[in-house]
């Protein structure tokens, strides 16, 4: 297992290199540049701006320059947010995204898993339909609709919570964004857990366990739960990476200083260094999460072995 883990970690370097290289050229091939805006710049001013960011050099040269800086841990200055380096922007925003995203995932697991299990055990009962319909509501109403409704109802009309803002991460400011972010995840997890639980409960070894006279609760907790988690875990790997790196929708609606906005806005502004920074960061997280998931597989199902 250890050698497998080390091998995977070693693999992360070439994986990231490929990601960086493809992303770099992909981004630069897209039309529109960082200085294309409503106000068209006179040629000499545009030339100055391009020179200031080395955009006047040939592309391969820029690539080498970028890789050189990256090797020294320098992500470069942001084009758009000039008073900060990309590293600073990510380091300032990530803790916020991690906090909101981590809480949302935790909440989703806490609610979604039991709901899924209960629905599976009470399959086709009223409880099942109720739970699944609720879960479905979380999927059918997109979060860019549910979040402003929540902010309006609980923030403005009822006045129970702030309508928006971060306020240094004060608890009342966390509630709405975390719930808004978790609703969809609850629905996903509950539905996947239900399906896979039903699958497991129908299998041989559960029948054997029952035959041994174990109570239903014991059967579920000791035998059914772990194998049922596999599809959920597969889903969670990339999902966690995506959620803890922030959601542009939630951040904009509630005015939260996370890094989710940088993924979309960096791209819209053609803030090349910021885009590359987020790509590298997210890529590393994806690689890490997917490794964790694979390790979890074998913990959940000892039959799964990785050939070294």
């Amino acid at each position: 297992m250890l050698s497998y883990t080390l091998k995977r970690l070693a693999f992360a370097v070439p994986t990231l290199l490929v990601v960086i290289t493809i992303s770099f050229f992909l981004m630069r091939a897209a039309p529109g540049g960082p200085f294309d805006g409503e106000r068209q710049l006179p040629p000499e001013i545009e030339a100055n701006l391009k020179a200031a960011y080395h955009l006047d050099e040939p592309l391969p040269m820029q690539y080498l320059r970028y890789m050189g800086n990256l090797a020294q841990g320098d992500f470069g200055p942001s084009f758009k947010y000039k008073d900060f380096s990309v590293t600073e922007l990510i380091m300032q925003g990530f803790p916020v995204s991690l906090e909101i995203g981590g809480l949302a995932i935790g909440l989703a697991l806490l609610i979604g898993l039991p709901l899924g299990v209960i629905a599976a055990l009470k399959r086709n009962s009223t409880i099942d339909y109720l739970v699944m319909s609720l879960a479905l509501g979380g999927i059918a109403v997109p979060n860019f609709v549910i979040a402003p409704i929540m902010a309006l109802v609980f923030g403005v009309l009822l006045g129970w919570l702030p309508a928006g803002g971060w306020n240094g991460g004060a608890l009342p400011n966390l509630v709405l964004p975390v719930i808004a972010l978790s609703i969809q995840q609850i629905a996903y997890i509950a539905r996947m857990m239900r399906a896979s639980m039903i699958e497991t409960m129908g299998s041989h070894f559960i029948r054997t366990a029952r035959a041994k006279g174990l109570s239903e609760v014991q059967v579920v907790l000791r035998h059914a739960l772990r194998p049922s988690l596999l599809p959920v875990v597969s889903y969670l790997g990339p999902a966690i990476a995506a959620i803890v790196t922030g959601s542009v929708v939630i951040e904009q609606i509630f005015g939260i200083p996370g890094i989710g906005r940088y993924f979309v806005q960096g791209a819209l502004n053609r803030d090349y260094t910021l885009v590359m920074g987020t790509v590298v960061f997210y890529g590393a997280l994806i690689v890490l999460m997917n490794l964790l998931v694979d390790l979890l597989y074998s913990a959940l199902d000892p039959q799964i072995r990785y050939d070294d």
Partner: protein
């Protein structure tokens, strides 16, 4: 650190009514996260609001947008309009160092150095050698800017400039703390930035909030009513409106979009401040090839667009239907208008059909045009309405939206038939808009428009020192553009801001300039705040 906000909110009126040493704090939605607080490094509206609060200029802007003395208590202009002499007052940087003419010289040189890569450097090209310095052809020392003594600055222009004082009032021209910049590269430091303006930079949490604190060293500190301004970079106007309703913010510099204007008008008419704004919303024609090279087609397309339906029914945000290129509220010439637009609609439609027939387009030879716009619900609404208005002419419109970077890149590369464009003037001067259609201007380059008469008029205007004469010549240039039907003006912008009735000193003006140093807050219990 996490003070329970509701406790704070309920306690606030009480504290204010006590009227003791309680700080007057204004909470502002500042539209977006500043790109930089260095006044020469970034040019967003929202950046310059903060920059100007931190760095005073030789020429300042009053609450109503007029130019008033700033760090210079007065200035003289030579009769030919080419030599400006600024007399600086005794003022100090926030660290106690005196502000001198040398600081201003340092700042203007830095502004034009290629390495600074300033967006608005071209507004200063009238200064002797400025263009050459900005192109890297001359050393910054060659710039026509000189400190005659510690308190006197002389600027020499190559030719008179109608907007030079306005340019000097912009953030870019603010004197910078030479003694700090010469020793450190990173000089914008929260809590420790050396400033000359009414406010210092307090805490700065990017994408969350930024605090400005009153600067006791500011030369007119006794006239500044606010102790603190908290700026929130809200990207979602709905977020701003919700926080405004919750009294979390007092003032929003974001524009209320058409999707929310009905609600605001109905529910908070007391808080909506609508005023003409120096911007023009128009469609740019690509005159290079095809049907649009034909002035008759451009005229027909102009004739059938009913601007008042777009402004009143489709958007409803108070925009003013436009029949010309320079917004009415700007300091353009009087009486300039696109010919033929004043006739009743039926007559215009008839005329337009005839023009299209003449140009060779009709039911059998329909005209297909691509109309490009950048992603925005309001741009979409306008495009859909215009397409519907052109339809009876037998014009098939393909709507083509793209995100801003792609949109503006396509315009620059002339890949469009008709393109949505919005020009907001940087200085209140017609040349800022009309000049873009003269040879070498960005709009002329994109649209392929060429008219020697317009070029000559623009050139002529650069040598007229008399403001009224110059305005008349620029008016003739604008009229030339309109006579050619080279553009399709749709409406003049207005600014729509949410301003709490508690906020005082917010005066509507065409440049949408609202210096924070003139704002004050009336506390709920004491209606008239003792600001002075």
């Amino acid at each position: 650190m996490a003070v329970h906000w509701r406790t704070l909110l309920t306690a606030l009126p009480l504290l204010l009514s006590l009227g003791t040493a309680q700080a007057a704090t204004l909470h502002v939605d500042n539209e977006g996260e500043p790109g930089s607080l260095d006044p020469q490094k970034s040019a967003n509206h929202w950046d310059s609001r903060i920059q100007k609060a931190m760095f005073d200029r030789l020429v300042d802007t009053a609450a109503d947008g007029r130019l008033i003395p700033g760090l210079a208590s007065r200035w003289d202009v030579s009769d030919d309009g080419t030599v400006y002499t600024f007399h600086l007052r005794d003022a100090r940087w926030s660290d106690g160092t005196p502000i001198t003419a040398e600081d201003a010289v340092f700042s203007l040189r830095r502004l034009l150095m290629p390495a600074t890569a300033n967006h608005n450097a071209n507004l200063y090209y009238a200064i002797h050698n400025a263009r050459a310095v900005n192109r890297g052809e001359r050393a910054p020392e060659a710039l026509g800017v000189k400190a005659l003594d510690a308190h006197t600055l002389e600027i020499t222009l190559d030719h008179p400039s109608g907007y030079f004082l306005q340019a000097m009032a912009m953030g870019e021209a603010a004197p910078l703390p030479r003694h700090v910049l010469s020793t450190t590269k990173r000089w914008i430091v929260p809590g420790d930035t050396v400033v000359s303006g009414a406010f210092t930079l307090g805490e700065w949490h990017p994408q969350s909030q930024l605090t400005l604190e009153k600067n006791p060293a500011f030369y007119a500190a006794d006239t500044v009513a606010l102790d603190r301004v908290v700026m929130y970079p809200l990207e979602d106007t709905n977020d701003a409106i919700r926080r405004f309703r919750n009294d979390q913010i007092d003032l929003s510099f974001a524009q209320v979009p058409s999707s929310r204007i009905d609600w605001v008008r109905a529910q908070r008419p007391d808080a909506l401040r609508t005023a003409p704004w120096a911007g023009e919303y128009f469609y740019m024609f690509n005159l290079r090839d095809g049907a649009l090279a034909d002035a008759r087609v451009r005229k027909a397309l102009n004739l059938v667009v009913r601007r008042e339906i777009i402004t009143d029914k489709v958007l409803g945000t108070g925009m003013r239907p436009s029949h010309r290129f320079v917004p009415e509220a700007m300091s353009g010439a009087d009486g300039v208008t696109m010919p033929g637009l004043d006739a009743p609609y039926a007559e215009r439609a008839e005329k337009a059909r005839a023009l299209m027939r003449e140009a060779g387009y009709g039911p059998d030879t329909p005209l297909t045009l691509t109309l490009r716009y950048n992603t925005d619900d309001d741009h979409k609404k306008v495009a859909v309405a215009v397409a519907a208005m052109w339809k009876p002419l037998g014009v098939t419109v393909e709507l083509y939206n793209s995100e801003g970077a792609v949109h503006y890149a396509a315009i620059k590369q002339c890949q469009f038939d008709v393109a949505r464009y919005g020009m907001v003037a940087t200085v209140n001067d017609p040349i800022d808009l009309v000049g873009s259609y003269a040879a070498g201007g960005s709009a002329a380059a994109a649209s392929g428009y060429q008219n020697a008469r317009l070029d000559a008029l623009i050139e002529k205007s650069a040598h007229i020192a008399n403001a009224a004469d110059r305005r008349k010549v620029l008016g003739q240039a604008e009229q030339t553009l309109l006579d050619d039907y080279a553009v399709l003006p749709i409406f003049d912008y207005v600014s729509n801001h949410l301003v709490s009735p508690r906020v005082q000193g917010f005066e509507d003006n065409v440049m949408d300039e609202h210096p924070l140093r003139f704002l004050s807050l009336a506390s709920p219990s004491t209606p008239s705040h003792s600001g002075e």
